[in-house]
Amino acid sequence: MAGSYYHDSLAAADAGIGDDGKRRLHQLYNPYESLHNPYAFPIYPRIYDLPTSPEFLFEEEATLHRRSWGHNLSFCTGVGYLSGSALGGARGVLDGVRAAEPGESLKLRINRVLNSSGQAGRRLGNSAGLLGLIFSGLESGISAAIQDDGVLSTVVAGLGTGALFKAASGPRSAAVAGAIGGLAAGLSVAGKQVAKRYIPI
């Protein structure tokens, strides 16, 4: 009676008795268990939903939300200096080319272009680098002081940078420059979010 063996073995499986009659040492595998197991089933989203933010390997890096102060300093200062000198250099090149007089040798023209681009680039680059330096120092300091990870410390640092930069020109221009700085800082944060969202790089 094969049917009875089948039912016997089913009952035996439930009772933990193996095919040879002895006690089963291992559990029978039920291939459908993940359908009802809430811990196994979410595996599919975990596999197929790719993360959009970087996945961190180390706990110390994952909990950070800000750059360290040294990294912030070198980054902001470097960006400021390079962009300032690039813009200033470009403007100086245009000025130098425009100031050329007819009938001049090539050497003279090149010399004038180099001089003007160098001077203008140096001036703007120094100012922009200084701005970046002050801004990064203020931002790291304020963020550490008020334990803030958001945009508030950035905006306040922008205010402070503008005010500090024009401090020697009197309180009114310092206030105006501070307002411009704070606005620029806020807009840069917002612009970065927008760029991350809508620009497909």
């Binding site: 180390f58 102060w69 040294g70 070198s74 200062t77 470097g78 400021g80 140096r122 680059g125």
Partner: protein, 231 residues
């Protein structure tokens, strides 16, 4: 467990960091120097104002020249690394020479060559000092061979470049990625002076340089490998 990777950035971003770090160093150092100089050279009662004025006039300029030097040096360094496909102190030396020559190029070939020579010698001295410092700092410790030789073969890794310890993370976890050789990649030592000083410096691994020390792991016997000898 394990240390996050906090050594210097990979090469293209390293230039930005070096420019920024150099500008910061020059600006802060120049501020201090010119403030004291302005303080000294001002009439009584106007000292602080005189100092501040001197700083405002001179500090950005000093910062800018530091930044130019650091940026050019870092660019040439990264270019040499890319061209030679090696991480050496030679990259830094050649980069220093190229920077010196480039900055004096407008004065003609003679001054440019002289400046290049000075730059190269200066960098060679700095790199040599860095190598010696690394060797002195990371002296290997010889554990008895009774213990697992593979574990004891790696000398305890001290994040070299002693002056630049930024305790952002726990510093007792030895960097396992670094090689066991005590001659670390000192090509990063001088450049790291600009920007790595702000971050925690780790020894960069695998320096295929001119000088290598005897690796202890090759001297101590490794765990016995199975010998496939039949009959």
């Amino acid at each position: 467990m394990g240390t996050p990777e906090t050594s210097r950035e990979p090469c293209p971003d390293r230039i930005l960091d070096d420019v920024g770090g150099a500008f910061g160093m020059g600006a802060v150092g120049g501020s201090a120097f010119h403030f004291i100089k302005g303080l000294y050279n001002s009439p009584n009662g106007e000292r602080v104002v005189g100092g501040v004025q001197a700083v405002r006039m001179n500090a950005p300029r000093v910062g800018g020249s530091f930044a130019v030097w650091g940026g050019l040096f870092s660019t040439f360094d990264c270019s040499m690394v890319y061209l030679r496909q090696k991480e050496d102190p030679w990259n830094s030396i050649l980069a220093g020479a190229a920077t010196g020559g480039f900055l004096q190029m407008r004065q003609g070939p003679g001054p440019a060559a002289r400046s290049a020579l000075f730059g190269g010698i200066l960098l060679a001295l700095i790199e040599g000092a860095g190598i010696m410092l690394n060797r002195v700092l990371s002296t290997p410790q010889y554990l008895p061979p009774l213990e697992d030789p593979n574990v004891s073969a790696l000398p305890p890794n001290i994040a070299a470049t002693s002056g630049f310890q930024q305790m952002a993370y726990q510093h007792d976890s030895p960097v396992s990625t670094s090689s066991s050789s005590s001659t670390s990649s000192s090509s990063s030592w001088f450049g790291g002076f600009f920007s790595g000083g702000k971050k925690q410096e780790e020894i960069e691994a695998k320096r295929e340089g001119s000088k290598t020390e005897v690796l202890e792991s090759f001297d101590t016997p490794s765990t016995p490998t199975p010998k496939f000898e039949y009959n």
